[in-house]
């Protein structure tokens, strides 16, 4: 998906999971005393639409919001929720009531105190239909939020909801200053006020955003070394949509950190002037999905046959330049519940002979004169759609096109701009497409596949039942077993053909010090400092 693409493209430094040993958070130690001051210069792929956490769910905006608003909880290095603005919580026996105890002595950037009322205000506003927050869907299980006293907040859920804590840790759930919301009203998104490590300074529409250090900040995360205010004086985000321009800006020393693409990675990897952070356990995955309402794609055997014909390794190498991990599971490599064994056992790998024999079985025979398969006089002529503007998926489609030609299918590649694609897909005006999604919670499976599917084309009550069990199980380990069961089912039904998870790579100037990553592979900006 484009938006999720933007996760890679714009959320730049907010990387994703890690693997290379040097960046392992636990092993990080301050070799040198951090120096204070200096401004970190970062890039954004587009001008954020709003910095009101209830006004947007764009990845770019959320990335910036993460610095301004702290959340009640965070996900620690073990992947478990831990307290941030909340010091502790209790869960009722029926798993439907969560009561948070809040920390005290914290102030919003506007000087007003953080307390239970502010938390109640934040979530009431998020859930209020009048706010029309696009993030509301993530908290739709929340029935009620109430401040019991100054430091206690009670959340009542409609039913047990496993992704609740992860969702609470996202920037959509950042705690906002009620006073500022009253003061700025609709314009709060241009004057954001939270309790986070950086406070909003200024915003030139379409051009740049400046955040300044919050001098009163106290850090409660265990995985961050710096417990006080951040080392740098501030952050400058510059809007730079063109990849080539970012590379040039990095070369010319105009920015400190940029996200890397397959085209640029090689340039920075072996250059002492730069450091490269590679996160292989990223939370995206690329897959082929089908128009399940249009024959022959309603047939799971046909979908599998198509899948077996696709050379995933070639796509990793050719389309992603090798900066990706082949992934046969229908879930991103970096999401809990991903298990290599499932992909090995049930995954649809590359076996053109198997593809050919499956197609023969289904009655799609090669017409010797055209060398294209036919069934009942209908040639195997299909269209592979994807969104325009991204070379990786375009190249991926070209490889799929070449692969399918080898088994006797004639495929047109159709690059459509995002708007047209979004209009065509619900109307079922396509054959199959190459997609990319990013999500860090195992409930990505529900988002994609639960009836009616994210594009409203797929119905499957058997799978729905399993996904429901996964979403309502508050026991993390037992839940992951259900998640694995769902993956197996998705592969057996060949609902999608998973291909790969691409790596999140970030280049930093050599003088950027203190880089280490959280559970999701995000760089801790609280620990960054600039060597003079």
């Amino acid at each position: 998906m484009k938006r999720t693409w933007l996760v890679l493209a714009m959320v730049l430094m907010f990387g994703t999971l890690f693997t290379s040993p040097g960046w392992l958070s636990g092993q990080y130690a301050t070799a040198q005393e951090a120096q204070k001051g200096g401004t970190l210069r970062l890039v954004l792929g587009e001008d954020p639409d709003s910095l009101d956490p209830h006004g947007t769910i764009s990845a770019t905006a959320s990335g910036v919001q993460g610095f301004i608003y702290d959340r009640l909880v965070y996900i620690n290095l073990k992947g478990l929720p831990a307290g941030r603005l909340a010091s502790s919580w209790t869960i009722s026996p029926d798993q439907k009531v969560v009561t948070f105890k809040l920390r005290t002595g914290i102030k919003f950037h506007d000087g007003t105190p953080f307390n239970a009322k502010a938390v109640e205000f934040t979530f009431k506003r998020l859930l209020d239909p009048a706010t029309a927050s696009p993030a509301r869907a993530q908290f739709k299980e929340v029935q009620d939020v109430r401040a019991l006293d100054d430091t206690t907040v009670r959340f009542t859920l409609e039913k047990p909801f496993a992704p609740f804590f992860t969702n609470l840790s996202t920037s959509y759930a950042g705690i906002i200053s009620p006073t500022a919301v009253q003061k700025y009203g609709k314009d709060f998104g241009r004057h954001p006020v939270g309790t986070g490590p950086f406070k909003f300074d200024s915003w030139i529409a379409g051009s740049s955003i400046i955040l300044a250090r919050n001098a009163d900040y106290q850090q409660f995360r265990d995985d961050v070394l710096n417990k006080g205010p951040v080392h740098v004086a501030g952050l400058v985000f510059k809007v730079v949509p063109a990849v080539g321009t970012r590379i040039a800006a990095m070369e010319a020393g105009e920015v400190d950190l940029i996200p890397l693409t397959r085209e640029s990675a090689a340039r920075f990897l072996n250059d002492a002037r730069f450091q490269v952070v590679t996160v292989k356990n990223a939370q995206n995955f690329v897959f082929i999905e089908f128009n399940y309402k249009r024959p022959p794609f309603d047939n799971q055997k046909f979908r599998a046959a198509l899948g077996w014909a696709v050379d995933k390794k070639a796509i990793v190498e050719g389309a992603w330049g090798g900066f990706a991990t082949m992934n046969l599971n229908p879930i991103p490599v970096g999401v809990p519940g991903w298990d290599d064994k499932i992909g090995k056992q049930y995954g649809i790998g590359f076996d053109p002979r198997k593809a050919a024999s499956l197609l023969d079985e289904l009655g799609w025979k090669i017409n010797p004169s055209t060398r294209i398969r036919e069934r009942d006089g209908r040639p195997a002529k299909f269209t592979c759609s994807t969104y325009s503007g991204f070379e990786t998926v375009k190249r991926g489609c070209e490889i799929i096109q070449a692969n399918l030609k080898d088994v006797g299918m004639d495929v047109d590649v159709k690059l459509t701009d995002f708007g047209t694609l979004s209009a065509e897909m619900p109307k079922a005006q396509f054959d199959f497409d190459l997609m990319r999604w990013t999500w860090s919670e195992p409930n990505i499976l529900s988002l994609l596949f639960k009836t009616p599917g994210w594009r409203e084309l797929y119905t499957d009550s058997e799978l729905d039942a399993v996904l429901d069990r996964a979403d309502t199980n508050m026991d993390a380990k037992a839940r992951l077993d259900t998640v694995k069961q769902a993956q197996t089912m998705i592969l057996q039904k060949a609902i999608v053909i998973p291909i790969l998870t691409d790596w999140a790579m970030t280049a930093a100037q050599a003088n950027v010090q203190g880089i280490h990553l959280d559970f999701f592979g995000t760089i801790f900006f609280e620990d960054l400092w600039l060597k003079k």
Binding site: M1, K2, R3, T4, W5, E46, D47, D49, S50, G55, I57, S58, A59, P129, A130, A132, S133, P134, A135, R136, A137, Q138, K140, K186, G189, R190, I204, A205, G206, S207, S208, K238, V239, V240, P241, A242, G244, T245, A248, A249, E251, A252, E254, G389, D417, F418, G419, T420, L421, S422, A423, E424, W437, W439, L447, W454
Partner: protein, 308 residues
């Protein structure tokens, strides 16, 4: 004269109506819903939320109603709100419009300086190697894909030499590279026009007379020939300004110079129609005004041209 200006200004009304009709036509035909695009690939918001956003922005009304409403508010100088940011279109556009105008005028400055001198040089040294060289250079610029030229400029002046910043629209220093890139491309047409126009004028009777009166070559060229040769040049300038205003988006994107071109392309991709309307109206009005200025310049250059 005043009547003429007023009549030309009145022409703005059909132009604005015309371009707005085009945009609304586009809106009826182009597939894609701005709100869906905004949230595609994200956890989709529930339908009630989407509907309430749509209602807030007035997008749930039938298109003709939206059109009338839009015209009503446009008359009051209000261009609506962006679907994406829900901010006033005026606020979204103003800063970028300033950038675009700045870039357009700066490029025009470069184009005029380079193009005129090349053209004059070629005309004076007609049929010499200088003439050939300038015209070959002019061809060169005309044939260069703008974006490729821009990247080459960046790689030479920003990355290798480090004289100028790669990107941004913060200061005049940032203006230099995009303005020179665009200006050089535009200058090549000007050089050709200037040359041929100069040649026509140099052959004219009054220039020969001036020579005969014993005026120096320099005076003749600058005082008599150039002034008259400028008329077709000014026409071309007016036309080029149109291209620079709306068509420079590739250069804007390559140099991260945040202007209305970049904004419009983004808005088309996101189907943010209020923004597209805003950009198109602003560009069209500017274009008409500049062409009015061009026509008025004619009469300044040549007193025989009188507008009634």
């Amino acid at each position: 004269m005043a009547v003429y200006v007023v009549r030309r200004l009145l022409f703005l009304v059909p132009v604005v109506l015309g371009v707005l009709t085009l945009v609304f036509l586009m809106r009826a035909l182009v597939p894609g819903d701005p709100i869906e695009i905004m949230y595609l690939g994200q956890l989709p918001p529930d339908k009630a939320t989407v509907d309430s956003i749509r209602h807030e922005l007035g997008l749930d009304a039938p298109l003709p109603v939206q059109f009338i409403r839009y015209l009503g508010s446009a008359l009051r100088g209000e261009l609506g709100r962006s679907v994406r940011t829900r901010r006033l279109v005026r606020e979204e556009i103003s800063n970028r419009y300033k950038n675009t105008l700045l870039l357009a005028f700066a490029s025009l400055g470069v184009a005029v300086a380079v193009g005129l001198s090349m053209g004059i040089l070629a005309a004076i040294h007609r049929d010499t190697p200088i003439d050939t060289a300038t015209m070959v250079l002019a061809m060169w610029g005309l044939s260069m894909p703008a974006f490729w030229f821009g990247l080459i400029m960046i790689s030479v002046f920003s990355v290798r030499l480090r004289w100028l910043p790669v990107m941004g629209s913060d200061s005049l220093k940032h203006l230099v590279l995009p303005a020179v890139t665009l200006g050089l491309i535009a200058s090549t047409v000007l050089a050709r026009i200037t040359r041929s126009s100069m040649l026509d004028v140099l052959n004219a009777q009054y220039v020969r007379t001036a020579h005969a009166k014993g005026l120096t070559h320099r005076t003749v060229i600058l005082r008599h020939a150039l002034k008259n040769a400028l008329i077709p040049v000014v026409t071309i300038l007016g036309l080029q300004m149109g291209g620079l205003l709306g068509g420079a988006f590739i250069i804007e994107i390559v140099f991260s110079w945040h202007g209305v071109g970049e904004l419009a392309v983004q808005a088309i991709q996101q189907r943010d129609f209020p923004i597209i309307q805003g950009v198109v109206v602003v560009v069209a009005v500017t274009y008409v005004l500049i062409n009015l200025a061009v026509d008025l310049t004619y009469s300044a250059l040549d007193p025989r041209i009188v507008y009634k």
